[in-house]
C-alpha cells in the first residue's frame, strides 16, 4: 500500500474497503460510511485525545541528546501523571526512520533526564535498553503545563511536515490520554454524528489510552500493544444493552475500541462500566463477544492491528482484502484509507461447510 503523507484527517477522496460477514469484498467512498450502518446499530468510538508525548532533551550524566516517547501509564487519572513507561531514542528526530534511530546512552535507574521545562528520573529499566519507567518531578499541574508547552505529538518519518496537536486530535477528542492518535476516529466529524442520529444509529464513546503503534525496534515491537488503561462510561454500557435489545450491531471505530469492549466483557459476556487495564491480545483464536463490525485503518499483515482483524475474518478472507487494497492503491498509516470488516457469519460458514 501507499503511505499517506499529508495529515488530512478526512481527505475527500478517502475510500473504505468493505468485508461483509460472508467474506465478500466491495469498495465505497468513505464519507458515505454512515450508509453502511443500520437503524438500531450502536457506533462506539475512542474519545481519547492525544498527548504531546514526544520530549526532546538530554541525559544529565552523559550530556547526550535523547528523545523520550511516552508510551504507557497505569491509569487514566488526570492527577496521576508522574509515572510513565517510555521509549528512549538517542539524538535525532523523526526525519530519521525509527528503525535507523540510534540507541540512547546507556541508561540506569536513578539517571536524570532534562526535558525542557520537565525533568524526570529513570526509575527502572524494563528489560530493554530503550524501555524505561520514568518518574517526573513536580506536581501534576506543573507536569501538564510542561507537556503542553514543551511536548510535541509523536512524529512519523513518512509524513512531509511535523504534526501539531490539532492534526492528531480527532474531532471528538476529550481526555488527553493517548500516546498516538486513535486514528480510526479521524473518519468522524460532527456532520456524520448528526447523520447517524437521523438514521436511528446510536453513538457512544469510551476512553482507551492508545499506546504507540511501533518503536522501530523488532524486539520491542513484539511486545506491542503494551497494557492500556481504559474507561467505559455507564451510559455506553447501557447503550450496548439497548442495542442488543433492539437487535442492532455494535460497530467499533478502531482496534482500541474492540480491545476495551472485549476486555470489559471477558468475564461474563456483559460490558461492565468502569476503569480497567486491557492486557489481552486479540487474534485468530479470539472469540468476539461484543463487537459485530469494525471500521479501522488499512493495516499491514505484520502488525498487531492486523492480528486483531483476524478475530473478525479468516486468513483467506483477509488475504483477499489485502490483495484488493494493494491492487486498488489504497493508502495506509494514520491518515490513510479505511476498512469496514463485519464479524464472519458463523452460521453461513457452517452451512457452506
Amino acid at each position: 500500500m501507499i503511505a499517506a503523507t499529508t495529515p488530512v484527517q478526512r481527505p475527500r477522496d478517502a475510500r473504505v474497503l468493505i468485508v461483509d460477514a460472508c467474506g465478500r469484498i466491495r469498495h465505497s467512498a468513505r464519507d458515505a460510511f454512515v450508509g453502511l450502518l443500520h437503524p438500531h446499530d450502536l457506533v462506539i468510538a475512542n474519545d481519547a485525545a492525544t498527548l504531546p508525548a514526544s520530549l526532546h532533551g538530554r541525559h544529565a550524566a552523559s550530556g547526550a541528546g535523547v528523545e523520550v516517547r511516552l508510551a504507557g501509564r497505569a491509569s487514566l487519572d488526570a492527577a496521576d501523571v508522574h509515572r510513565f513507561m517510555a521509549v528512549v531514542f538517542g539524538a535525532g528526530d523523526f526525519r530519521t526512520r525509527t528503525e535507523d534511530r540510534p540507541l540512547p546512552p546507556k541508561l540506569a535507574p536513578g539517571d536524570r533526564l532534562e526535558l525542557g521545562a520537565l525533568s524526570a528520573t529513570v526509575e527502572s529499566m524494563l528489560d530493554h535498553p530503550r524501555l524505561v519507567s520514568l518518574h517526573f518531578d513536580g506536581q501534576a499541574h506543573d507536569i501538564w503545563a510542561g507537556l503542553a508547552t514543551y511536548g510535541r505529538p509523536i512524529q512519523y518519518a513518512h509524513l512531509l511536515a511535523p504534526l501539531a496537536l490539532w492534526d492528531v486530535w480527532t474531532p471528538i477528542a476529550a481526555m488527553p490520554v493517548a500516546f498516538e492518535p486513535p486514528s480510526a476516529g479521524f473518519v468522524l466529524d460532527w456532520a456524520s454524528i448528526a447523520a447517524m442520529k437521523r438514521r436511528g444509529v446510536a453513538f457512544a464513546t469510551l476512553t482507551l489510552a492508545a499506546g504507540i503503534s511501533s518503536t522501530g525496534d523488532v524486539e520491542l515491537d513484539r511486545r506491542l500493544p503494551f497494557d492500556e488503561p481504559y474507561r467505559i462510561p455507564a451510559s455506553t454500557a447501557a447503550a450496548i444493552l439497548e442495542a442488543r435489545r433492539q437487535g442492532g450491531r455494535v460497530v467499533a471505530i478502531g482496534t482500541t475500541v474492540v480491545r476495551a469492549l472485549e476486555h470489559a466483557a471477558a468475564r461474563d459476556g456483559v460490558v461492565h462500566p468502569g476503569e480497567a487495564l486491557a492486557n489481552q491480545r486479540l487474534g485468530p483464536a479470539s472469540s468476539l463477544r461484543v463487537v459485530d463490525a469494525i471500521l479501522s485503518g488499512t493495516h499491514e499483515p505484520d502488525s498487531s492491528h492486523y492480528q486483531l482483524l483476524r478475530a473478525f475474518a479468516d486468513a483467506a478472507t483477509l488475504a483477499d482484502a489485502s490483495a484488493a487494497l494493494e491492487a486498488s492503491g489504497y493508502r495506509t498509516h494514520e491518515f490513510g484509507d479505511s476498512m469496514f470488516v463485519e464479524r464472519r457469519n458463523r452460521v453461513v460458514r457452517q452451512v457452506a461447510a
Binding site: 503545563a145 507537556l147 503542553a148 496537536l165 480527532t170 454524528i193 448528526a194 457512544a204
Partner: protein
C-alpha cells in the same frame, strides 16, 4: 423557568478565560464558592499565580486565547487539570483600539486583535474542547445535584449590548461581539441535539478594567459590580445544567438563550 439563586455547582468542571480581572475574576470566586472545580486562563504568569494563590482550589493556566498556537496547550491543561469539562466560559475580551476610536480611525490591526480575541479565540477553544463537552453531555455531570441534574454541557459566551446597538466608537468591539453572539446562536442550533448548549450572556456595564479603558471618566458608583454579574451568570449556568439536555429541542434552548440575554443584560 425559575432561577434558584445561589444554586450549588458541586463538582462541576468549569473553565473561564480572562480569569484574572473584572468579570472573569469575579466568576472564578463565585463559581468556586458554589463548589465548582475551576480552571482559569489569562495572559500574565504573575497574575495567574496571584489569583491561584488567592483561590486555592483553582487551576491557573497561562495563555493568550487570541493566539492560534496557544489554543491546544490551553485545552490540554484545562482537560488535564480538571479531568474533563462540563462548562466553558469564553470571557476574555479585547476592546480593539484604546482609547476607543471611530471605525474610520481604527487601525486594521486593532480590529484584527478584537476579532482574534472575541471571535476566533472562542471559536478555536470551543472547537478544541467540543469532544470533552460532548462526553460530559453523554455521560452526565460528575456530581448530580440533589434534584438530579440531567446530562448536558454548557458554553457561555460573554456578550454586550454593543453586540446589538450601534454605538459610535465601539466599532471593533461591537462588530466582534455581534459576530460572537450570532455564532453562539448557530452553535446552539447545531449542537443542542448533542446536549451541548450555548448561551450568549450580556453582563451589563460593569466596574471593570475593560470598562475603565473604554470610558475612563465613568463614575464607578453608577456601574454594576462584577460580583453581581458573576452571580447572575452562575445562576444561568446552574439553571441550564438543571434543565438538562435530553428532552430540550434546539428551538426551545435557543429561546432560552435569548431570554437569558434579556434577564442578565442591562441596556443603557
Amino acid at each position: 423557568m425559575t432561577t434558584q439563586l445561589n444554586e450549588r455547582l458541586d463538582g462541576v468542571r468549569i473553565a473561564i478565560t480572562g480569569g484574572t480581572s473584572g468579570l472573569g475574576l469575579a466568576l472564578v470566586a463565585e463559581l468556586t464558592r458554589r463548589g465548582a472545580r475551576v480552571a482559569f486562563v489569562a495572559r500574565t504568569r504573575e497574575r495567574v499565580d496571584e489569583v491561584a494563590r488567592a483561590h486555592p482550589n483553582t487551576y491557573g493556566i497561562v495563555g493568550d486565547v487570541a493566539s492560534k498556537d496557544a489554543i491546544y496547550p490551553i485545552a490540554l491543561q484545562i482537560l488535564g487539570g480538571l479531568g474533563g469539562l462540563d462548562v466553558l466560559v469564553n470571557n476574555a475580551s479585547s476592546l480593539g483600539p484604546v482609547p476607543l476610536a471611530l471605525l474610520a480611525d481604527t487601525e486594521c490591526e486593532d480590529l484584527e486583535l478584537a476579532l482574534a480575541t472575541n471571535v476566533l479565540g472562542p471559536f478555536r477553544l470551543t472547537k478544541a474542547l467540543l469532544g470533552a463537552l460532548a462526553a460530559s453531555a453523554r455521560e452526565g455531570l460528575p456530581c448530580r445535584t440533589a434534584d438530579g441534574a440531567k446530562a448536558g454541557s454548557v458554553v457561555v459566551n460573554i456578550s454586550s449590548d454593543a453586540a446589538i446597538n450601534a454605538y459610535p466608537q465601539w466599532g471593533a468591539y461591537g462588530a466582534s461581539k455581534a459576530a460572537l453572539r450570532h455564532m453562539t446562536r448557530i452553535w446552539d442550533e447545531e449542537l443542542a441535539p448533542q446536549g451541548i448548549h450555548f448561551l450568549s450572556l450580556d453582563p451589563g456595564d460593569m466596574d471593570t478594567p475593560l470598562h475603565a479603558l473604554a470610558v475612563p471618566d465613568a463614575d464607578p458608583s453608577t456601574l454594576k459590580r462584577p460580583e453581581a454579574a458573576a452571580r447572575e451568570i452562575a445562576d444561568a449556568i446552574a439553571a441550564r445544567l438543571r434543565d438538562g439536555a435530553g428532552s430540550t429541542s434546539a428551538k426551545a434552548s435557543m429561546d432560552k438563550s435569548a431570554r437569558q440575554v434579556e434577564a442578565v443584560g442591562v441596556t443603557p
